[in-house]
């Protein structure tokens, strides 16, 4: 008993048991309803794209860690998450070679060359998606309708977002009458459209169509405390406000802001991409500013640029400003207060 060697170290002597791969696993679980919806609507094309991006992302992660002579980081599951999210932002029937190229950009260029998990400045999946959209805009804007689709516009397979974009383009071109005509096309059947946007039976990127599936994922992440809800709330809230201002200014009717939020990848981006820990600010205040910036930028890009979608670009721009936001929104340190002298009289 005299010679019993005890373990000696510093406090605390407990750990919450939290870990990065548990968090990543929770994100993957939250993505399950979205994946399920995409397979339901797009069948084999969804399975193929998702498998390709995920498998290639993990492979690239493994190879680059090997080449860079770092520890193998595949078990933290962050590559799986990146691969899945990238796949879910791609249109169905994306050429698989492009999907692999997207993973390459995401994992090797944006993540590993910056130092791996924790050190990347940009959201890997968003960067991969943005690269593909710019470099290969034709295949990346070819949409197909869901197999189960009942939406009126089945022949042209226009996405709800491209309908919104037509409105926006006409506003930008100064042709307000055309904008209203284009909008009437949507608003004539607005409630039906909103219903379809909610369930996801519309043309669009694999994982972005079903608001319901994304909300289920969001609720799971909130319950598991894996998500900074301030980002989601301020992003969606500010996008709604900006769209409402546009709607008011151009007399587009009360449902336009709601359609703006449900159409396209805004909801998916807000829940799964903007809330990425690594590339978002670290204080509550900062995250609210981050979300507001995202909302404003998304609607501005949608309205005034040539791209129909503004989510990935706004996420990349706000990722860039994260260090700046962090710098000016640090918490007020406890005890940094002015005090009067408290001497006895």
């Amino acid at each position: 008993m005299e010679n019993k060697m005890r373990k000696v170290t510093y406090s605390p002597f407990a750990h919450s048991g939290n870990s990065v791969n548990k968090a990543m696993l929770d994100v993957i679980i939250a993505l399950v309803p979205v994946i399920f919806a995409s397979i339901l609507f797009f069948r084999m094309s969804s399975v193929l794209v998702l498998l390709t991006t995920t498998a290639s992302a993990v492979t690239f992660e493994y190879i680059s860690r090997l080449v860079l002579k770092r520890y193998n980081s595949c078990q933290d599951l962050s590559a799986v998450v990146t691969g899945l999210i990238l796949g879910l932002t791609l249109p169905p029937n994306t050429p698989l070679l492009l999907a692999i190229l997207g993973s390459l950009i995401s994992i090797v260029v944006v993540k590993q060359l910056f130092g791996g998990i924790g050190n990347n400045v940009f959201n890997p999946a968003a960067s991969g998606r943005a690269f593909l959209l710019i470099a290969f805009s034709v295949p990346l804007t070819k949409w197909v309708n869901p197999i189960t689709s009942t939406y009126v516009d089945a022949t042209t397979s226009a996405t709800p977002l491209s309908l919104v974009k037509t409105v926006m383009l006409n506003i930008k071109g100064g042709d307000l009458d055309a904008a209203k005509t284009a909008y009437n096309l949507i608003s004539s059947d607005a409630w039906n459209l909103i219903k379809l946007l909610f369930t996801g039976e519309v043309a669009g990127s694999l994982g972005e169509t079903s608001a319901l599936a994304i909300i289920i994922g969001l609720i799971y992440l909130i319950v598991k405390k894996r998500i900074h809800t301030e980002i989601v709330a301020s992003y969606i809230g500010s996008a709604f406000v900006v769209a409402a201002i546009l709607s008011f200014a151009y007399d587009l009717g009360p449902l336009f802001p709601l359609i703006s939020i449900l159409a396209g990848g805004l909801l998916f981006g807000a829940v799964f991409m903007a809330t990425d820990w690594v590339t978002s600010p670290m204080t509550k205040k900062g995250r609210i500013i981050f979300g507001i910036g995202l909302g404003i930028l998304t609607i501005i890009i949608r309205t005034f640029s040539n791209f129909p979608e503004g989510v990935v670009f706004s996420i990349l721009i706000m990722n860039m400003s994260t260090p700046l936001i962090d710098r000016y929104t640090s918490n007020k340190i406890f005890g940094k207060v002015k005090v009067q002298s408290n001497e006895k009289k």
Binding site: Y10, S16, M282, F334, N342
Partner: protein
């Protein structure tokens, strides 16, 4: 019902929350040991000076070491016996080799004559008398910091409120709870003496909502009393940290690097209040206190022990052999002991035996999840501080508020990348101290 709470912090639950082991256990009074080891360096400040010599016959309650200067405390003999050694022979719980007085118990239980006072007499005492009693009884803060109590009451600053801290947010400790359950009246009287000594008009007793029975008892005992308020707090770690406690209760922040008295508040532990009551009314010095002995052992319980008893005397041999980690203090802020030949000092309120340290993975890169930022009770960014320390940028630590860190360990506890954030921060503090 209003529940107070500070901003930030964490909820400790699951396998780490083990208060239930000892909340309802009986209080055990261990057999007095044959030898007691009283380190002279039991309090924050200077070590005490021995006033006895080897071979002296002493009675229980007798002064054996007196305070050395203002920032120190008296030490009394818990039992009667003979002074066997006064030498550097044992490590105190901080790990330092400290000069100690070793008493060989003669089991005759001879006590010195204590000066008792009735409550009425006690109520007539002046603040000066009360501070003298605190000094005489060797009172120190029993929450763990062992700040000499009289120092808090003899300063030149005005005090508006005395806060009794019965939060006990450490996940294994229940000694304060036991004191509150068994000595409610004494604590209230102790608080009244504290208010008299400080001239404060308001008193607060702070209890966390996992100790509702204690809260109700205090509420009932204090019906009709308008000066003392029993405040209920949300269960959260580190709710009991005094500066965070004050900000939750009174919405005032203790300035950076300052003491609560700078904003007119004195905080004392429930154990200290009870000890003051004993000192005033029974004339008894601080020689015994409550202690939680818990963890991976057969009979976790609360003990009422003489100061100077060895950890070894409170634990069974097989328990010591099958557990690798011996903690003094608490799971979150305690210290590991390398030997059970360590004496219980005034500041030790729990002994925890654990089979092993928590199994956490290797340190991984920070993923900026901001768990540490969101839960830091001092509103710091622990990961930024750790990053600065790693990069040897010690000069910038001050700008990021290093001084405000209370070393509660919340950041290390929550980190999903298993970064020992608090270790880095401590390293930064040491380096800055070395440089200044």
């Amino acid at each position: 019902m209003k529940k107070f709470s500070f901003k930030g912090g964490i909820h400790i639950h699951g396998t780490n929350a083990k208060k239930a082991l000892t909340t309802n256990s009986q209080i055990i009074i261990p057999k007095d040991p044959e030898y007691l080891y009283l380190p002279l360096n039991q309090q924050l400040g200077k070590p005490s000076k021995p006033v006895v010599a080897v071979g002296d016959q002493i009675k229980a309650g007798q002064l054996i070491a007196e305070k050395d200067g203002g920032f120190s405390a008296n030490i009394h003999a818990p039992v009667s016996g003979i002074i066997e050694h006064i030498d550097y022979m044992i490590n105190e719980p901080t790990g330092q080799l400290s000069k100690s007085i070793v008493i060989k118990n003669d089991f005759s239980n001879l006590e010195v004559d204590y000066i008792t006072r009735s409550s009425e007499e006690a109520m007539k005492l002046t603040p000066k008398n009360l501070v003298d009693i605190m000094e005489e009884a060797g009172l120190v803060g029993l929450g763990g910091a062992t700040f000499p109590t009289p120092v808090k009451y003899s300063g030149s600053k005005k005090c508006d409120a005395v806060v009794i801290n019965g939060i006990e947010c450490e996940p294994y400790n229940t000694a304060d709870y036991v004191i509150m359950k068994n000595h409610c009246k004494e604590i209230i009287r102790g608080l009244k003496y504290m208010m008299m000594a400080s001239g404060a008009s308001k008193g607060y007793i702070c209890i966390e909502d996992n100790k509702m029975d204690a809260y109700e008892e205090f509420r009932q005992s204090l019906t009709g009393d308008t000066d003392i308020l029993v405040a209920l707090f949300k269960e959260k770690y580190p709710q009991g940290a005094e500066k965070q406690l004050i900000s939750a209760l009174l919405n005032k922040e203790v300035p950076y690097g300052g003491l609560p008295i700078d904003i007119g508040v004195i905080v004392n532990n429930v154990g200290t209040a009870k000890a003051l009551c004993d000192a005033v009314e029974l004339g008894k010095p601080l020689t015994h206190h409550y202690l939680t002995v818990t963890g991976n052992i057969e009979n976790p319980a609360n003990y009422y022990v003489p100061i100077g008893i060895l950890f070894q005397d409170l634990l069974k041999e097989d328990e010591l052999n099958r557990n690798n980690v011996l903690l003094a203090g608490g799971l979150m802020m305690g210290k590991t002991m390398y030997t059970e030949m360590t004496p219980v000092t005034k500041g030790i309120n729990a002994i925890i035996l654990l089979e092993d340290l928590p199994k956490v993975g290797p340190e991984l890169p920070c993923v900026r999840c901001s768990s540490c930022v969101d839960s830091c009770p001092a509103f710091l960014s622990p990961t930024t501080l750790a990053q600065l320390v790693k990069n040897n940028k010690f000069d910038e630590l001050g700008d990021y508020g290093l001084v405000a860190c209370i070393e509660c360990g919340t950041c290390s506890y929550v980190c999903p990348s298993h970064i020992p954030l608090l270790d880095y921060i401590r390293h930064g503090k040491l380096e800055l101290r070395r440089r200044s």
